[in-house]
């Protein structure tokens, strides 16, 4: 029997960055908000404090803060001719599953994606002609501009305590920052993090090769800070336990120490944990949704929460899954190329080199999540002519440590045996002497990379698993070759004792090992319902009181980490709902 609860104004599905931002903003606007989170309540005081938090086995190897694959996972294949199989253990990407979501265990890298992404098709067509874009590359303009998002990027950077150095203030190029970034109205709220030896050596080498290295912007407070909402941050202690962990010093910009406690202190807001939303309920007219169905994981009770508005704020993959399970919008068919839900799933690509310097001591145990130096010379700028290389998008190159821990971080020169006495000797000998240079590259949409519901496998509640079909295409392979050469040229210029060179990947993508929790697309944004699932305000074209918030709205993936635009779009959507939608509940963009 399903228990039907009293209607509320807003139900938020998933309480991480986007749910926290929207929940707080809409509760403050006077709306009654209920947030349903599948994971548990966790706090810095009880769960992320010393010494218990520094447990690599629990948090990195056993994924304590992540989605439980014994309950719900995805099936995976590289192309539609294969049979997809369930991912029984997390690997390549790690969706968070606690109050705070992936915003608890992220590293804090916060980028501003620019019009080079938002106008990707029109700009490449203008520059290189229509034929430059392969026929199966389903990239499209996003329907939003950098200028529209700029104030919201600024807002998110202030809330999340982002440390960095502006490279372009209102059109003036600033020394020390990223000269290729789009114009910013304001400096970062906090100065850059302290650099570490690996990033300094990389910066010097990149500079002498004519590149433009800069400190990576990261939501790791470089000093004590109070954000505009009054949330207090301690200074980053460079403890080395950043990604996969909650912050022991309240220094990492995370929803569970910012927007979520503020929302929870508002009587208009209620959080229910262990609440797994299984379906968004369509209204009888099909033009609206009327609420959600969910299961209380503590006792198995099934409940229905009616609501005037539904905001899907779960992890990007799970938002798309819910849309497919709820039958909202037309599912995408990669063969017929009809429908939109599930379209344009994208990931990221990359390559890296390990450099060994006999006699140097890098102290890899000491770093912030964002103590990297990065360069964008082959990324967000047109000075890099893609014409001769024949690929679209770009990649950033970076060096520095982030969470190099005793179990997982064991750099040894290539050719070292992988186990036994010789391996033990080598890992002790080289641990202190190694550093990495890595490239992180964009992935353009392809008609065959997509999501749908698996025909065979089901989750713990009996629902079809999400099926992911993904592989790298020629664009990524060409980019990888270019990136590997650039990385190796810089690495060789540093004259290491040994070099494990960067190699462009050519093998099909697999779910192991860990690669990047930057999954995008599936309910993409755009200018018309024929080619997108949501409009520029992340409002469903099909049901106007349903908003789908997260990286699932990105029509393609960039080289950058996605949280900057995810946070900015959440504030942008909050404003659209507060200022326009509440007064006139209707489509915010005519279809």
């Amino acid at each position: 029997m399903v228990t039907r609860l009293k209607e509320v104004d807003v139900v938020v599905v998933g309480l991480g960055w986007t749910g926290g931002i929207l929940g707080k903003e809409l509760a403050e606007a006077g709306l009654k908000v209920v947030a349903l989170e599948r994971g548990a309540m966790r706090t810095s005081d009880n769960d992320y404090s010393l010494p218990n938090i520094r447990d690599e086995l629990r948090y990195v190897v056993r994924h304590d803060l992540m989605q439980n694959t014994a309950r719900d996972t995805l099936t995976i294949r590289n192309n539609p001719s294969q049979e997809a199989l369930p991912m029984r253990r997390l690997g390549s990407f790690l969706p968070g599953e606690v109050v705070g979501g992936s915003g608890v265990h992220w590293s804090g890298h916060t980028w501003r994606w620019t019009d080079m992404e938002f106008k990707v098709r029109s700009q490449y067509e203008e520059r290189y002609g229509k034929n430059f874009i392969p026929a199966d590359m389903t990239i499209q303009d996003w329907g939003i501009t950098y200028a529209e998002l700029e104030p919201y990027y600024d807002k998110f950077e202030r809330v999340a305590a982002v440390s960095g150095k502006a490279g372009n203030l209102r059109g003036q190029i600033q020394p020390g920052g990223n000269p290729f970034e789009a114009p910013r109205a304001n400096e970062y709220p906090l100065p850059p993090l302290t650099t570490i030896l690996a990033s300094e050596m990389f910066a010097a080498a990149a500079k002498s090769s004519g590149y433009h290295p800069f400190p990576r912007p990261a939501a790791n407070a470089s000093r004590a800070y109070t954000n505009p909402d009054g949330a207090k941050f301690g200074a980053c202690q460079y403890c080395g336990y950043c990604q996969r962990f909650g912050c022991e010093a309240n220094a990492k910009g995370s929803p569970h120490i910012t927007v979520i406690p503020l929302a929870m202190s508002n009587p208009n807001f209620e959080l229910r944990t262990y609440s797994w939303v299984t379906k968004v309920i369509k209204d009888s007219d099909g033009k609206r949704v009327s609420g959600v169905s969910y299961t209380n994981l503590l006792n198995g009770e099934e409940l229905e929460q009616p609501a005037g508005m539904v905001l899907l704020c779960a992890y990007a993959i799970n938002n798309v899954h819910l849309m497919l399970l709820s039958g909202i919008g037309q599912p995408y068919d990669p063969v017929a190329q009809t429908g939109v839900i599930g379209k344009n799933y994208c990931y990221q690509t990359g390559t890296g080199a390990t450099l060994f310097f006999q006699g140097r001591r890098f102290n890899p145990f000491m770093s912030a999540g964002g103590s990297n130096v990065t360069m964008d010379d082959y990324n967000i700028n047109w000075e890099f002519d893609r014409g001769p290389h024949g690929f679209i998008g770009g990649y950033n190159v970076a060096a520095g440590f982030n969470t190099a821990l005793p179990i997982g971080y064991r750099p040894v020169p290539s050719g070292t045996p992988q186990w036994g006495k010789a391996w033990k000797k080598a890992t002790a000998e080289w641990y202190q002497t190694a550093m990495n240079i890595g490239a992180s590259g964009a992935v353009m949409a392809n008609r065959y990379n997509c999501y749908d519901l698996d025909p065979t496998y089901r989750n713990a509640l009996g629902q079809p698993l999400m099926r992911m079909t993904f592989d790298y295409k020629a664009n990524e392979h060409k980019m990888g070759q270019h990136a590997a050469k650039v990385v190796n040229d810089i690495a060789r210029s540093m004259n290491p004792t040994h070099l494990n060179p960067a190699v462009a990947r050519t093998q099909p993508w697999t779910v192991v090992p860990y690669q990047s929790t930057h999954n995008t697309g599936g309910t993409i944004m755009g200018t018309s319902p024929r080619e997108s699932a949501v409009n520029k305000y992340l409002q469903s074209w099909d049901c106007h009181n349903l908003f789908v918030v997260g990286a699932n709205v990105f029509p393609h993936n960039a080289s950058y980490n996605p949280t900057g635009p995810v946070g900015a779009l959440a504030y942008w959507t909050a404003d659209a709902i507060k200022n326009r939608y509440v007064k006139n509940p209707a489509p915010l963009v005519p279809a």
């Binding site: 010393l50 004590a224 301690g234 200074a235 010093a249 220094a251």
Partner: protein
């Protein structure tokens, strides 16, 4: 340390405390506030600093202290706090405070002067 130098050191410390600027100390407290509240019984990552002076270290029943702090026998005074804030791991190895320390003696004196005003 001889009795005379100890007396001298204490005299210097108390002079510093007298000259300290609690208003400036309030600003310096920003470094602590993300984890330490001043309200009784309200603990964050660190314990409340309400009524901290002359309290035995590790004695609040509702905060989970490190064994190192619990068995330290420290009484929190101007001097012990000064040494703890300067470099807590050197002063008390294996304590759990994730804080690199406040190196300037004047900063610490100002901060402690502020705490003396408000932590009661």
């Amino acid at each position: 340390m001889t009795g005379l130098t100890l007396a001298l050191a204490l005299a210097i410390a108390s002079t510093a405390a007298q000259a300290a600027d609690p208003v400036r100390g309030e600003t310096l407290y920003e470094e602590c506030i993300a984890c330490h509240s001043l309200r009784p019984g309200v603990h964050g990552i660190g314990p409340s600093l309400h009524d901290v002076f002359n309290r035995k270290a590790g004695e609040l029943a509702d905060y989970r202290y490190s064994p190192a702090l619990k068995r330290s026998g420290i009484i929190w005074t101007v001097d012990t706090l000064d040494a703890f804030i300067a470099d807590s791991q050197q002063f008390l190895p294996a304590n759990r405070m994730p804080y690199a320390g406040m190196p300037e003696a004047r900063d610490r004196a100002d901060l402690i002067a502020y705490l003396q005003q408000v932590a009661k």
